[in-house]
């Protein structure tokens, strides 16, 4: 213990340097964890979190009783995760391989620069861009195809609209990571394949893709921890938070945001929030455990 204190004293400058970020984490990330007890309380804003009376699992019972809403939101959250992850990974990898195979490197670089731009546009701005394409009267899609589709009132179309928006926003950026793995592939593998008379496709199938598999696996596993969290902006902004579209577009994050904005039903929302945090934690632990088994270097802890 003495030597421990000596060590800390000797490193007091490092303690001081770590302190500001430590305090920010403490007050911004850790203290709100205590707020999760709200899930077990009949919350009253004027009494505060600890002043409000306990009500056991009443909030959760209420949550489960409203089957359709809660069930719908959770289903949307999970299904969008699956859709975005499957399509996203496939496109990220394909795009990375395609760009990597271009012989005109400067052109490839320019294309990539242009493809990454959308990731830096906020959803608050993206929704105006989407509007320009799908507005009923002035939208480019309806005008070009001579249709009169009312996109903003047809919930059934939104999984596709959101998917295309998501692909547009994230694919360019998502491919960058895989490009860096491709850059690290040992070129002698390709040379050996050339000597053996392999063509382009054979090289891609037998060298390029197998080299990417470890990174793909790791990225997929790590994303499992985020199943319960969605890109809030996509669901809140791009849909213009329109009630008609909720059946296919409401996810846990946008639901909680809406409840906070409307200031109602905090106990009930806290239960949904609690569910989200706890399931997120469990999935994260499972994911990390699995990654540690197959690729210890990429595990988070």
């Amino acid at each position: 213990m003495k030597s421990f204190m000596d060590n800390i004293w000797k490193n007091r400058a490092h303690v001081v340097m770590a302190l500001p970020a430590f305090l920010v984490l403490l007050f911004i990330m850790y203290v709100p964890m205590a707020g999760l007890v709200m899930a077990f309380k009949a919350f009253d804003y004027s009494k505060g979190i600890f002043g409000s009376p306990w009500n056991g699992i009443e909030n959760f019972r209420f949550l489960l009783a409203s089957k359709s809403t809660f069930y719908n939101i959770t289903r949307n959250t999970v299904l969008y995760y699956l859709l975005f992850t499957a399509v996203g990974t496939l496109l990220n990898v394909t795009l990375a391989i395609a760009i990597d195979n271009m012989l005109l490197k400067r052109m490839a670089k320019t294309m990539q620069t242009l493809m990454i731009i959308p990731v830096f546009i906020s959803y608050a701005a993206v929704q105006f861009i989407v509007f320009a394409f799908i507005d009923t009267r002035t939208g480019i899609i309806n005008n070009t195809l001579g249709l009169n589709t009312r996109f903003y009132s047809q919930a059934g179309l939104w999984p596709w609209i959101l998917l295309v928006t998501k692909i547009w926003k994230d694919t360019g950026y998502g491919s960058v990571l895989y490009m860096s793995v491709l850059a690290g592939i040992d070129t002698s593998l390709y040379e050996a394949a050339d000597i053996d008379g392999a063509n382009k496709w054979q090289k891609i199938c037998h060298i390029t893709i197998p080299s990417l598999i470890p990174m793909i696996t790791v990225m997929l596993l790590l994303s499992v921890g985020n199943v319960m969290h969605s890109d809030t902006g996509l669901f809140y902004q791009v849909t213009r938070n329109s009630g008609i579209l909720y059946p296919t577009t409401q996810v846990l994050d946008s639901y909680v945001l809406n409840q906070i904005k409307s200031g109602s039903n905090f106990g009930y929302t806290a239960a949904a929030s609690f569910f989200q945090s706890v399931v997120g934690l469990l999935l994260m632990l499972v994911a990390n455990f699995t990654v540690r088994k197959i690729a210890p270097d990429n595990a988070l802890f």
Binding site: H14, V15, I49, A124, I140, Q237, M284
Partner: protein, 304 residues
Amino acid sequence: MAKQITNYKKDRFGVGQWILIFILFLVTVFFAAPVILVFIAAFTDEMYINQNGFSFLPKVWSMNGINSVLRYGQQLLQSYGITIFVTVAGTLLGLLIMSMYAYSMSRRDFRLTKFLSIFLLIPMLFNGGQLSGYIVFTSWYGLKDNLLLLILPLCVTTMNVIILRTYIANSIPYELMEAATIDGAGDYRTFFQITLPLMKPALAAVGFMLATAYWNDWQNALLYIDSASKQPLQLLLIKIQKSIEFLLNNNNVPATARAAMGGAIPQYSSTMATVVVVIGPIMVVYPFFQKYFVKGLTVGSVKG
């Protein structure tokens, strides 16, 4: 990035290559066209869009969209100021305190490093969620309508600290820092005069990511900012959309207001012009930082 150029020397420039270029060209158009449309629509005549819809090749151009953005005048300037202030202050603060934390974590003879890394990792696994954050910040800390709520929640993220820490561990020789200490530099001096200047590439990568996160943040603003004098650009965008919606759904808008808008609610070119104003700065700055954040992303994927 440079390494890629070495591969495929033997490949011929054949038909396959032309097909690939063609397809990738189409893909690039898919990504770039919507952004280009924003700029075109911002300079298209309002009435033209109202009658013919959005178009990549409008027949009537106009500066009215830009002019009507300038008419927001005071508010736009104010919001610009808030966004710039929050972005600059947040990025500098975040970079400083995250690199200090990362530096402390990388000290080999420091017994608290293990604790510091666990403390850093837990928020990645488990968090209180939006609702408890909201209640804690507004009712416990009593922060409401306060710019601190735009700055603090984004300034320390686990991933960014890991990137910085990995950079210190892999790219800056430990001996260099030890030598500085032997030469009589104190701990603070070693950090500020030796380590920090050598961290430039990592700082550029993290700094750019941090700055875009601040520039694009709308959620904290929507939750916490009430007064018009404190709303950042993204919140202004949301407010503009809300007021258009309000005008469209309300028939009893005063006639004078309608007349001022030229009969139509300015919802097309002027909103696009606002979007141009909001996303423009990032478009300008981004190409200069591209090589850094590509590197940062790669570093971040390897465990720290």
